[in-house]
Every structure is written in C-alpha cells, then in structure tokens.
Subunit: 262 residues, 3 copies
C-alpha cells in the first residue's frame, strides 16, 4: 500500500464561514483519500507573524513528505507571488508574504517554484479574493498525489523569498534575554529563548517586572502562581498553575524577558 | 478502487459540545472510511437563512455525488418532515424547513423522498431532540455507501418542499440594486448582486450612505479603505483592505446596496 | 478489508493554537489512515468535571473498539499516572485525574495499564507540558493499529483509578430530584435525572423557582417559552423553544431540579 501523504491547512478564515470546508471540498475533488489535518484556522485576521509562528511550531510533528498549505494572505489578487517550497521534511504552499519565515529559520530549502502552471489550479481564471480555493488547495492536493514540484511551477531563486524580521533570543556570555513570541489559548507566554541555553541547574526569569522561578512542569508552582518551564516546543515558557500567565502578569506579545542564572 | 463519496456536515451545534463528534461517530459506525468534511457548525442558533446561504455558497465545490447533511432544525421532534433530495451534483439531507432554499434556487431537483424507512435510522425510536444523530447522519452515511434514494424513503412532490423568501438582486435597465446577504468572519459584506451584471468597465456602489469604488482585489484599496469587488462566490462584495467593512461602514444583514455604472 | 479503528480526541486545547493539529500529525506519523474524530477541544481550561461529562455523553456513539484519547491534564509532568483502560466498547487513554469518571459510572473495566512502555511514546524524554503529543496521542494510535493493551503498559488495579465525586439524581418513592449537570451551546440545561424515571404520563419540573411543563420536543412549548423534555442522552433536560434556557431562567451548573409527578 502506498503511504498516504498528509495535507495540512493553516488559515485565518475562522470556522464560521464555509471557506475552510470549500478548500477541503476542492482537495477531495482531486483525491478524497488524502488525509487533511487542520493546524489552525483562528490565526488573527491577516496576521502573518502569528501564522509564521504557528506553522513553525507545528510542521515538524507531521510525517515526512507532508504538504503544508498556509493561507494568511492580505495581498490576495495583487502582485505578490504564489509559492511552493520543497524542504527535506515536506512541502510548503502559500503566498510569498513572509508566512514561511519561521519554518525557513529552521529548515533548508531544496527548491522553490512560483505557481504559474494553471493546469494544476481549480480554474485558469481564479477569483481575485480566494486563492486558497482556486490555487493553493488544488496545488497542495496535486503535490500530495505525487505531482513533482517542477511541474506545478517555474523554479525561482530561494533568496528571493520574502522573510519577516523576527527577533531571536540573545545569549551574551552568561546574559540571556529575549521576548514573548506567542500567547497561547491557556494564557501561557512562549518566548524566543531556547531551552537548551538553560543548562545551569537553577535559574529564574524576569518578565513584566516580576521574578518567576524555573520548574519542570506547570504543577511545580502553587495553584494560581507563575512558573517558568521549558515548553513543549523547546523554548522557555511562563505559565500559571491553573490559570493564565497573560492575565496574571498582564503580559503579551513582544514583551522583553530576562533570564537570571544562579 | 471505488471513488469515495464525501459526506459534508452543516449545523448550528457549535464545537464545544460533543454533538458534532457524535454524528461523526454514527457515520463511522456505518463506514469509517467515508470522508467527512465540516462546512460549518457555527451557524447562528436556529438561523435557517444563514444556513441556507452557507450551504448554497459551499456545495458546488465538493465532488460529484457528495452527500450534504444539514441540521439547523428548530422544529426537531415536531411534525416537520425529514428529507433527502437528489440533485445532479449530489444529495441533500435534512429537515424540511427551508434550509435548502439557497441550493434549490440554483440546482434542479431530480427526486425527493421523505425519510420514513426506519431501517436506515440509528434507532426506530429516535430522540425528540437530536435527529442529526438518529436520522440525518445515518441516512447520509447510507447514501454515501451507495444505498439508493428510493430505499431510504417515500417519494414526494418536489413542489411540496418548504422554501424561504430570499430577496434576489434587481436589474432594471441600467439600474442595479440588492442587499447584503451575508457578513463573513473578516467583516466582508457579501451582496445578492451577481458579478456578471457588472459588465461596464467602471462602476461603484453605495451602501450605508457611502460611495465605494469598484476594484479587482482587496489590496486595490489603500490600507483601511473600502473597496467593492466581485467576490469568490461570483457576487458583489464590499471589503476593507486590512480591516472589517462591517465595522467601518456599520453595515450588516439585509442593508440595501445600489450600484452606480459609469 | 480490515475494519478501521477510530481514534477520538477530547481536550481543553482550543482550536486557535496548533496543539490539536500536532496530536493529529503524530497519529498520522504512526498510521495516516487511522480515522481521527474530534469530540471537543473547547472543554473549559482544566475542567475535569466538564471533560468527564462530555466523554460520558459521547463515547457510546462510536464504533466498537474506538480509542478515546482525552487530555484535560492540569497535572501534566507531575506524578499523576498516565492510563489506558480497556472497556467492552473500546479504549480510554489519558491522565489518571478523574477524567474517565463519567464513563466508568456506566461501563465495566476489563483491564487498566499504566503507560510505562516508552517504546510506544513519541520520545523517551517527553515534554513536561505536552503529554498529549508525546504519550497519549501515540499510545492511542498504536492501540488503534492493533497493539495490545498489555504491551503498552503495566497492569494496575482498576480500583486504584482516581474517580470524581459526581452527584447522581435521587429517586425516593415518588420524589425525584437532581441537579443541572451540563449547560450546552444552545443554553439547554441537562440534568442528572434519568428519563426512564419519568414513567407517569404527566409531570413537570421546578428549577430556579420556576415550574416547567414536560413535553416531547423543544417545539412543544410556545416560542420563547421553556419546556422539559427527555433529552437525546436519555436525561431530563430543560430547553426554551427558539431561545436559551440558561439565560431565560438564569440557571446553571449544579442548580437543584425537582420533578413533580401528577
């Protein structure tokens, strides 16, 4: 049996409108046996930074060869290019607007094409407002069905891809600092400081003028109290046992974080 | 290999309760290999007009033969009939309450049955409050598995199906008008005015006492400004580049829209 | 063809973060043909009682052998055990924190293991904060793929499983009382009073100092009025025709309910 290739979807379309279902209908029209997995459809509207973070956090947990279709696309219908990127681990499909920056900080590009072969689109005259349906979903499905990257578009220079300016954590001798890169559903504050920088046995962090002790699990703090842990993505994260760190500390996106090694 | 038939689901059940998962469990109990695709479960509670619009917008993007199970059903357990409708493009399954009006304005009925063959229900004594689980999901799964329409119910007159009174756009010589039929997740205002009525090179619209220029893509307006485009469903749509037209124009459902041809 | 075994997922992760998609990616990495069905991901954060209710309501509608992976896990990374439970109807996988109490009030345990065989985990060094990804999802996928319960862990005493203190309805001669166990998306109030206790032809209920007549369907009350019905799970439920009983009666979780037999 041929191993099925997974298509993942990441958008800012929400789930109240039929847009996500329509993309899945288009994929099913190409091959209804392709497994389609939602990464998220609740990216804040047109927030390319949030989409980049979400995709970077998720893509490596999918099987090799997976095709990640990401559509957060404020420039839809304008001159921005449409891309498919081949990595060692799989494929990325979406607009050339910086969306793939997070992934591309971690993974090397094998090849990139601009999507200009209309025979793999749903229609040769795509809507000016919904390339997810007319270009990205069908191209993703064709890639998952085994069509080669070179057939779906014309190769372009990887260095021409648009990249966002995403701040990285800073390690300068024993000084470690960074910022909050994401606030999740639980109110956990996820930073850009890699956990493997915290090799000392004991450390704490300062965020929003508050000192917080390091631990190994959320439950290492008393109920209602904050704790700093190495989160599941391998980065320093501030959480509250049974509560929301974002609320308790009144902290959010891009706020600075300082590590104190003991 | 037999081509798999897709079942789609459209409800007002939301995703916080287990109701949608239960319907999928019932379908999996009949055949776990049936692909099930969510169109939306966030239809406003018991809003048949919104459900009709959503289904009309989505159904044509699914592969031929797809079975669309729609359950927005304020009359569940009362005398309203339960239906399965065969179209050229696939099947509709749900209550006879007007839910299918949008689809039936576009597509011709081949046959309709009232669901009275209890051997295709989950139980011969269905709950008075959850026909999605006990009647509509299992009937949809059986249709997708190849059971014929005539076996699952008794044929009835297509003209007896309940239809909603849905206003259409009006074209009277060079005067084109209509109303807002849907406000989506982005705050885009989708009208009932077909895009192919706008054949002149240049046009604008007036909505909520505001004149808005026509364009081809959301990005054709300056950031934060409104633009009128032919949306992805083929109807006139008012959007804001990087924002919400519903908020900016304080506009919503059923508000009149006038086209100005130049 | 081998009958496919379904994996269901129940969490409090929400759908805005990639956590649920990541769990599905891990399952697809083990076998992308396993059907995965969401029961709900909108359990209120860390609310084990709500999770227990939701799973109890849903699990019996899935095909025999289904594997239910439930992750509402405030103690993740601490000493609480990780379990897999075999029932006649299928399997339960998740933390030993009371999450399975509702199911275990209805169904007999055939065997239980503590998940200590790391060869069925995603990694031998799991994150201290995301056992859904590293332990529960992969173990669920292996069970669905046919790995036996005894291989994935060490058998433990079923009586050692943590159970929540969940109030049951009370029948004392002709006096029947209970409480509201769940408020659903529609504002329906679902009680812990079994419908089969209401064998008299005529009955009403009192909740929040309001008397409400019994009926068979939501539509048996006038629009905007409350009605008491036997809900789809087989328990007494108070609803409002075209509205929310929770709002109209200002009623919620654990509020007492008294039945009046006539």
């Amino acid at each position: 049996m041929m191993k099925k290739i997974v298509v993942t979807l990441l958008t800012d379309f929400g789930l109240s409108d039929p847009y996500v279902g329509i993309m899945k209908g288009v994929i099913a029209g190409i091959d209804p046996s392709i497994p389609v997995i939602d990464i998220s459809h609740d990216i804040p509207a047109q927030n390319i930074y949030a989409a980049s973070y979400c995709l970077k956090s998720a893509y490596k947990y999918f099987p090799e060869g997976s095709v990640h279709v990401a559509v957060v696309d404020p420039g839809v219908g304008t001159v921005r290019r449409a891309l498919a990127i081949e990595l060692a681990s799989g494929f990325l499909v979406g607009p050339d607007n910086g969306l793939f920056s997070g992934v591309l900080m971690k993974d090397r590009i094998k090849a990139v094409v601009e999507l200009d072969n209309k025979s793999y689109w749903r229609t040769e005259t795509p809507s000016g407002t919904f390339h997810g349906r007319d270009i990205f979903a069908p191209v993703g499905a064709h890639l998952a069905s085994g069509v080669s990257l070179r057939r779906i578009g014309s190769e372009i220079d990887p260095d021409s891809i648009m990249l966002l300016d995403i701040p990285a954590g800073v390690k300068d001798g024993s000084s470690i600092s960074g910022c909050i890169e994401h606030v999740d559903h639980f109110g956990n504050l996820i930073t850009n400081i890699p956990g493997d920088w915290l090799t000392k046995r004991s450390w704490s962090v300062v965020v929003a003028d508050t000192g917080i002790e390091g631990g190994a699990a959320y439950g290492d703090a008393a109920p209602g109290r904050a704790v700093a842990v190495i989160g599941s993505h391998g980065f320093l994260e501030i959480a509250v046992n049974g509560g929301s760190a974002a609320s308790l500390l009144n902290a959010g996106w891009r706020m600075p974080v300082q590590v104190v090694l003991k």
